[in-house]
């Protein structure tokens, strides 16, 4: 870990100016991923701008009937917020499926969006990695790639986005409020993260100096029929091999609308609207769920060690949809998959 200098920002504008004007500067909030990456020498900022004192800690009702979540709201506060527990249980469940209680206490809403891949090669500076060092190559494609992506990969990169929370935010169609040197902008969640393409060094569409200031949830939906199902190599405190956020609006026995987002399989939370559309007007049966899974996973490609994820993802989608349709969401402390 390299030494660095430290600035504490008092206002959003001050923070943005401090980072935008210095290519070697970075924002720091919860630090749960950035400090870790600095210890691995994967990230070597020369200056950290501490944004934890900024007034971005509120969860407020919006005029549209939703919630605006300040970027500095800790993951645990968000998960246990009474409004989130009542109106957005899918989000609460996804957050509680991730990391540990200690990390959730420190990690922030904005930081969760910005956490970087857990690809083993990204973390090891002695190995080639296009995300860490553009042009150096991708050792994961032919290496230990059990945890890597099966969808949306490129020649340059097969990393995944590791967040659980973001998978739920994708399914709920949150929006991301950003401020930067060129003013504020609002992005649909699907446009926040990106696929690796030939520039895997960019995880998302933020420019240097831009800061997430809030995440906005639309008016609550899917309050009854939802689940977050996470499958991993240890029953807690492990990143997802595959996770599924499923949310359904039922119309009697049939499905009126479906949202399905996958975690652990791509460079961003993976949503395929065509796959969701397959379920519209269909009965909630394993056959319908399988048909949706086939569309969502079309084009999935394994790299040897992660081939199993294709079949695992298919089965996880089917099960998650069954849980959602039954109104029996997975309880994260219950290790029996219902």
């Amino acid at each position: 870990m390299m030494n660095f200098s430290y600035t504490r920002a008092e206002t959003v504008a001050e923070a943005i100016a401090a980072v935008a004007g210095d290519p070697a500067a970075r924002f720091i909030a919860g630090g749960t991923n950035l400090v870790d990456l600095m210890k691995y020498d994967v990230m070597k900022p020369e200056r950290l701008v501490d944004i934890t004192r900024l007034p971005l800690r509120e969860i407020e009702a919006t005029d549209a009937g939703g919630l605006r979540i300040g970027a500095l709201v800790p993951n645990s506060d968000l998960a246990y917020d009474a409004r989130v527990q009542r109106d957005y249980p899918l989000l609460a469940s996804a957050i509680l499926a991730g990391a540990s209680a200690q990390l959730r206490n420190a990690a922030t809403t904005g930081g969760n969006l910005l956490q970087r891949t857990r690809c083993y090669y990204f973390y090891d500076v002695a190995t080639p990695c296009n995300k860490r060092e553009p042009g150096s190559g991708c050792a994961a494609k032919t290496g230990v790639n059990r945890v890597n992506a099966i969808l949306g990969t490129s020649e340059a990169c097969i990393a995944t986005h590791p967040s659980d929370m973001c998978v739920a935010l994708a399914a709920l169609e949150a929006t991301v409020h950003v401020e930067g040197p060129n003013g504020p902008r609002v992005l649909p969640f699907a446009e926040f993260h990106r696929l690796p393409g030939d520039a895997p060094q960019h995880d998302n569409t933020l420019a240097h100096g831009e800061m997430v200031v809030a995440v906005e949830l639309p008016a609550p939906r899917f309050g009854r029929n939802h689940t977050y199902l996470k499958l991993r190599d240890r029953l807690s405190y492990a990143f997802a091999l595959v996770s599924v956020a499923a949310a359904l609006e039922m119309d009697g026995e049939g499905i009126a609308e479906a949202r399905i987002a996958l975690g652990g399989v791509a460079h961003k939370p993976w949503r395929v609207p065509d796959g969701e559309a397959v379920l519209k007007g269909k009965p909630a049966t394993p056959d319908s769920f399988g048909a949706a899974a086939d569309v969502i996973l079309a084009g999935a490609k394994g790299y040897g060690g992660n081939d199993f994820k294709i079949e695992l993802a298919r089965r996880a989608i089917v099960r998650a949809l069954a849980q959602a349709a039954a109104g029996e969401p997975q309880v994260q402390s219950d290790k029996t998959v219902n």
Partner: protein, 743 residues
């Protein structure tokens, strides 16, 4: 005698508990020193080849940097192997020497050491060291090793591979029931919670006080004195607490070597704490390919056992474990052929990890027994009873004690084994398939020479000491229990000390021998102390004990009293006062009983029963419960003994379901060298574990103790794998049994 005795055999809280729960127990990295400098090791980026250039100029120029050491400016040390073999746990070969030359033997090998005024400045400067390499292609896969060979020089201290007996191949060919299967136990790392660390306190005049994470302070002291030519009187190792080790801290590691080198060169106190990633640049449980073949009669009675193992070792040493030996004595069979081979890989030398050899070999043996149970259509417990061995046919000796039958019976009863329906996939609840599996465990009951001292002071307090280690096993507590019983003291009046080379000699703490050996040595020291006390008590003018022998007196409540008339007594304080002493010291020792060992085979045994739940579609495995029934001689402290078994079982569960060191085969580099991706079990993974101790009388040492550190893990992974087969009908022969293997 007060009613608190005996402590031995009774659940007794850890005497070091208050220190551990309050953060006052000091581990190797936690000792201070004036003017302490901090070191950081720079790891190699390649697994094999040479360092062609090392640019340390930027590191040297960085703030706070005191020095940068490497093979180019090391403190001289001997070229030959011998000084480096002054290591009780050395194995055949040429020991690794950091900074010997420009050669890189494994990925992450320390190629430089930065020393700075603060931890942060050392860490910063370490990132500035630039190396170039001439890399060669490494091989880290034992299956791809150029050749497999039987080790030409056997390792000291482990039993040799038994000679074949009978005609195993012929009996197999003729057997009506045959089972042959290949198993793979993958590489694991110990990953104790504490990082490997050394603090060297430079005391001036060439005197070093070293705090090093070690399973036996004597070993790194001998090694350090030997390799740096230091006067043994000027070096002391003090490591009172060890944050877990499980075998990884048996041999001296590069942290103590480099920290001492830096301290000697800079004449300054040094702290070197390795990173979690660097914990993967030292000993490990080597992966092992195994084939087990059983021939049996139609009823399941074994007629032939063949077990062949090929295990990884480093290029520079022939590390060895007894992998196949267990197959020669655990079951009764007259036709046995066992073979153990090595294959070279470009990694650090493997090291003993909890029940080395047995954990790996018994996994294959006990999975194969389960396969035989299905092939012969016999209940797995019945099969084991049917083939029960009352004699160690490897060495043709009777067992010193073996209550394994009772362990099977009690374990099965506690578990409710009778409720098992034999067919795979025949038990379910909801979407979960239920599996019951079991396996046998065994481990050698060993003892080693130990010395100990008992010191009584005028205030009536007793201190007992031995240079062994307490790596969490409870040694502090059992030594205090033994001593308190011997002198009839309240345990609060007894202090036990370990982990200091100023204490009487002990070897490394491992192999489950510490309780029996150190405990017996302490008992012996206390007996001598009692003798000395009584002698002096008799000599006091008008002593009521004037003619009493040890058989006629009772030690208790700080006095020596006549058994026949307890009113006639002399207090310990009066004995010391009468003799003009402020303390009375007695030395004791323990030597293994060679005659006994020649006559009897000594083993601990266990029967492990596991219930798993497996999601039928998703392959998610959930452990529901474990019963481990253990026959291990006398149990000194049921509370800490149970914890030892729990620990072994949990590590066995990790082995079965989670743990695997993943090497990139091209780069020769461990890719999951951290606790986030090398998965040890977490709270949520571990169910209720029921530990049952079977009564067992054993005469191999004065305490009747056989040791508990290893037995809990042996067989556990097989029991889990067998339960998963019973649940799913899928026989997974390569660990760990992850979700992908059950889809």
């Amino acid at each position: 005698m007060s009613n608190i005795h005996p402590y031995v055999g009774r659940a007794t809280s850890r005497v070091d508990g208050p220190l551990k729960v309050s953060g006052l127990a000091q581990y190797a990295a936690e000792f201070g020193a004036p003017d302490l400098a901090y070191a950081a090791a720079v790891p190699s980026a390649i697994a094999k080849g040479r360092v062609t250039s090392l640019d340390v100029s930027a590191a040297r120029a960085a703030p706070g940097v005191i020095d940068v050491l490497s093979h180019e400016n090391k403190l001289a040390f001997p070229e030959d192997d011998e000084p480096f073999k002054n290591d009780m746990v050395a194995v055949p070969g040429s020991p690794f020497r950091p900074f010997r030359d420009d050669q890189v033997h494994y990925s992450g090998q320390a190629i430089a050491l930065v020393v700075a005024d603060t931890h942060e400045n050392a860490r910063h400067a370490a990132t500035l060291v630039r190396a170039t390499y001439a890399a060669e292609t490494p091989n880290v896969d034992v299956a791809s090793a150029a050749n497999h060979y039987e080790p030409p020089e056997p390792r000291d201290g482990i039993p040799p591979t038994p000679e074949p007996r009978g005609d195993a191949a012929g009996a197999f060919a003729a057997a009506p029931v045959q089972v042959t299967a290949d198993y793979r136990v993958v590489a694991e790392h110990h990953n104790p919670m504490e990082l490997q660390a050394t603090t060297v306190v430079w005391e001036g005049d060439g005197r070093l006080l070293i705090h090093n994470k070690t399973q036996g302070v004597v070993n790194p002291k001998n090694y350090i004195c030997s390799v740096f030519g230091l006067d043994e009187d000027k070096v002391r190792l003090v490591s009172p607490f060890v944050g877990g080790a499980f075998g990884m801290a048996l041999r001296p590691h590069y942290d103590v070597f480099l920290a001492v080198m830096a301290s000697l060169k800079l004449q300054r106190s040094i702290r070197l704490v390795l990173t979690r990633g660097q914990m993967f640049t030292m000993g490990w449980r080597p992966d092992c390919l195994q084939t087990v073949s059983f021939g049996a009669d139609a009823g399941g009675r074994l007629t032939s056992i063949q077990h062949h193992a090929i295990q990884a070792t480093s290029r520079y040493e022939d590390y060895q474990e007894p992998i196949v030996n267990w197959s020669g004595f655990l079951y009764d069979c007259d036709n046995v052929a066992l073979k153990y081979e090595l294959g070279k890989v470009d990694t650090p030398t493997p090291s003993d990890m909890r029940a080395p050899g047995a954990t790996t070999g018994v996994f294959a043996l006990e999975c194969a027994m389960d396969e035989l149970a299905y092939a012969a259509k016999v209940d797995p417990v019945e099969l084991r009873l049917m083939n029960y061995s009352d004699r160690d046919k490897n060495d043709d000796k009777p067992f010193s004690s073996k209550e394994l039958r009772e362990a099977y019976r009690l374990g099965a009863e506690r578990f409710g084994w009778s409720k098992r329906s034999p067919e795979p996939r025949s038990m379910r609840e909801g979407r979960e398939l239920i599996g019951y599996g079991m396996a046998t465990g065994c481990w050698e009951a060993m003892t080693m020479p130990h010395k100990a001292r008992a010191t009584l002071t005028a205030d009536g307090k007793l201190e007992v000491g031995c240079a062994t280690a307490d790596i969490g096993t409870g040694t502090y507590t059992i030594l205090a229990q033994i001593a308190a019983d011997a002198l009839g003291l309240d345990i609060a009046e007894v202090t036990s000390r370990v982990g200091d080379t100023s204490l009487p000699m002990a070897p490394v703490e491992g192999g489950s021998w510490a309780a029996a050996s150190a405990g017996s040595a302490v008992k012996s020291a206390c007996e001598t102390l009692k003798d000395e006390l009584l002698k002096r008590a008799r000599g006091i003018d008008g002593s009521p004990l004037a003619n009493a022998g040890l058989d006629h007196v009772v030690f208790g409540n700080g006095r020596i009293a006549l058994a026949s008339d307890p009113a006639k007594a002399v207090s310990f304080a009066d004995v010391l006062k009468g003799a003009g002493l402020d303390k009375l010291e007695a030395d004791g020792g323990f030597e293994p009983d060679k005659d006994f060992a020649q006559t009897y085979a000594g083993y601990t045994h266990a029967a492990c029963f596991v219930e798993v739940r497996v999601d039928e579609d998703l392959g998610v495995v959930r452990l529901a419960r474990v019963v481990s029934a253990v026959a291990a001689g006398k149990i000194l402290n049921p509370l800490t003994a149970r914890s030892q078994i729990l620990g072994g079982v949990v590590m066995g569960c990790g082995m079965a379901l989670h743990e695997e060191t993943l090497w990139d085969k091209t780069l020769g580099r461990v890719m999951n060298a951290n606790l986030g991706e090398y998965h040890v079990p977490a709270h949520a993974d571990i169910p209720d574990i029921d530990v049952v101790f079977v009564d067992e009388e054993d005469g191999s040492n004065p305490l009747g103790v056989k040791g508990l550190g290893e037995i809990g893990i042996v067989g556990t992974a097989a029991a889990v794998a067998n339960a998963i087969f019973h649940a799913t009908g899928k026989r997974v022969r390569e660990l760990p049994i992850t979700i992908d293997k059950l889809l």
